[in-house]
Assembly symmetry: C2
Homo-oligomer: 244 residues x 2
């Protein structure tokens, strides 16, 4: 049974429309590539109780949880406090992190810098060669920065540690028939191939095809069987290869 | 007290990373402009029980809920079934919607088309001059299509109906000081101006400023007072106007 994951995106700036969220896409792609099913994404404000409440639910309901955002030194960076609250821990200053900070900022190091070393007690520090800064993990929650370049880099540094399963298999078909016409045929194939997920995505702009049909599943043979059944059900003459 | 809102984005294609989510940004901007606070975004799979479970929670906890996606004619379009399940209603065929469909598709109208008229019993059909197709509302839930152009058009058609409050006020400052140095000053101003939200967003790439500081609130005078307090606390000489 494939592992499941949830993402908790923390940030007022996304909820006010000031910033477009950019980490969920890369996370979804990486998780799919290592056979983990992303089942929920939640975006919540920079508020300790809100974050903690979501974390308790998501951590209990999924195998892996990734948070994004709220890990800087200012008053609105409250993710570690929320993780601590969610799991009933204190916040403590990590000596390894404090030493890294002192090495980085040198003689100019002050209390504002050292606040970045304040993490939930008992947190694991995941060290990888590519990243100068460890990723903090508490229970099944991986705490990631919100800045997209840093999020992406840390995610890829964690990939080998996270990867235990086979990637998901996918197939895609493009048909000239329209969604209304094919609905019954799709539903019939979906019922007969319940181990895969079949999705239907119409285009209103393309002249070469009308509906994109996708197949996803953990077993490549099952995906191929469903794909072949779809070709037959939709009619091979209606299946096209897109121009681009 | 400003009204609150939540968005429920429905779609396997977002959770598998195939499609980048594009409706939350425009929704967040419009809600801010009409003084409604978006407090949660949830992305969930195309599964009736999952959607229904989220809807019950979000509908109870927020004044307004907007769903995106899952309202086409194929087997993976299950949003109306989930709304019905969430609120304990049957699915019925709406005669007004069926008539619109018959008028649109003409003599070629068939059962696949008419499935688009199957909605939760008692749903309100919100008709606006700009949109040929009504928006379905059940309780405080507005059911919107996932296709971004349609979502945007329907949202704007609903704007006047939704707009009851004043827009939120915002201010922004750019400082040459870094996040670590200003953390205490920001926290102090935030405590003294608790009726606004102050956010801090560092840039690692700009040479003209290091941190963008934002102020948001319902009262423009309170936002201006907080902005002035920030200038004084950060030091006027550290405040710059960005080159672009």
């Amino acid at each position: 049974m494939a592992r499941t994951a949830a993402a908790l995106v923390i940030g007022n700036e996304i909820l006010t429309g000031k910033v477009v969220e950019r980490n969920v896409g890369p996370l979804a792609c990486l998780l799919g590539a290592i056979g983990v099913r992303l089942r929920r994404v939640v975006v919540c404000p920079d508020e300790v109780e809100e974050i903690a409440g979501e974390l308790r639910q998501l951590s209990a309901a999924h195998d892996l949880v990734f948070t994004s955002g709220g890990v800087g030194p200012t008053h609105d960076d409250v993710t570690y406090a929320a993780v601590a609250l969610a799991f009933g821990r204190r916040i403590v200053r990590s000596e390894p992190l404090a030493n890294l900070l002192r090495a980085h900022f040198g003689p100019a190091t002050h209390e504002g810098h050292l606040r970045l070393a304040d993490v939930p007690e008992g947190a694991e520090l995941l060290v990888t060669p590519e990243m100068p800064w460890p990723t903090v993990q508490v229970h099944n929650v991986y705490v990631m920065p919100g800045v997209p370049e840093l999020f992406r880099a840390k995610l890829h540094a964690l990939r080998d540690r996270l990867a235990q399963g086979r990637p998901f298999a996918s197939a895609v078909l493009y048909t000239t028939r329209d969604e209304f016409d094919i609905a019954d045929a799709l539903a019939d194939v979906a019922r007969r191939h319940a181990e895969v997920a079949i999705g239907s995505y119409p285009s209103f702009r393309r002249s070469d095809w009308r509906v994109k049909v996708t197949v996803d599943g953990g077993d490549p043979d099952a995906v191929e069987r469903a794909r072949a059944a779809l070709v037959e059900a939709l009619g091979p003459e209606s299946i096209v290869v897109p121009r681009d």
